[in-house]
Symmetry: C2
């Protein structure tokens, strides 16, 4: 498994719009086992995305999906920057979707 923990900062006032686009986009991505979007209560412009993929290749391939490409284009102007990005190796836990289907 391949994991990511990413903190993104939105332009002022655009966090909610950015979250809406992201949570809609992440519902049907082959190889995605978990993708949760959270607000940072300590920073009104920041969000955290925590992701688990069955492989790094599936994560990379997600950027070729039409829905993801469209979301990236929409979100790009809303983003100030990536504050932190940690790559992890998920082992196990609760909530992992093991039956993720190809689109």
């Amino acid at each position: 498994m391949h994991g990511l923990i990413v903190k993104l900062t939105a332009r002022p006032g655009q966090r909610d719009a950015m979250i809406s686009i992201l949570v809609h986009c992440v519902q049907n991505m082959p190889g995605s086992m978990s993708y949760i979007v959270a607000k940072d209560p300590a920073d009104e412009n920041a969000i955290w995305a925590t992701e688990v993929w069955d492989s790094e290749a599936s994560h990379d391939a997600s950027f070729t999906l039409p829905a993801v490409k469209a979301a990236v284009e929409q979100v790009k102007p809303m983003v100030v920057g990536v504050q932190s990005k940690v790559v992890t190796q998920p082992v196990s836990g609760y909530g992992l979707q093991r039956d993720s289907k190809a689109q």
Copy 2:
């Protein structure tokens, strides 16, 4: 929803044992919607736990569960410390378990 992103460091050689205890423990916690344990590929002693709870109260209450209390006692001597801990407000995403039952 209430979220946590926690980086823990284990004593040398004890990371795998710590992970085994954690992933076993997190399967049946009322109010838990996601709890994923990952290795940090950049630090052979570190793990990341990413958690989503239906409320902060459910998270707090989990520490009163016999299985969690036992796990905490087992894990405590294996832990060097908490390297970072971020509280989040999860909004939505993929993989959240919405039908978590009370034990």
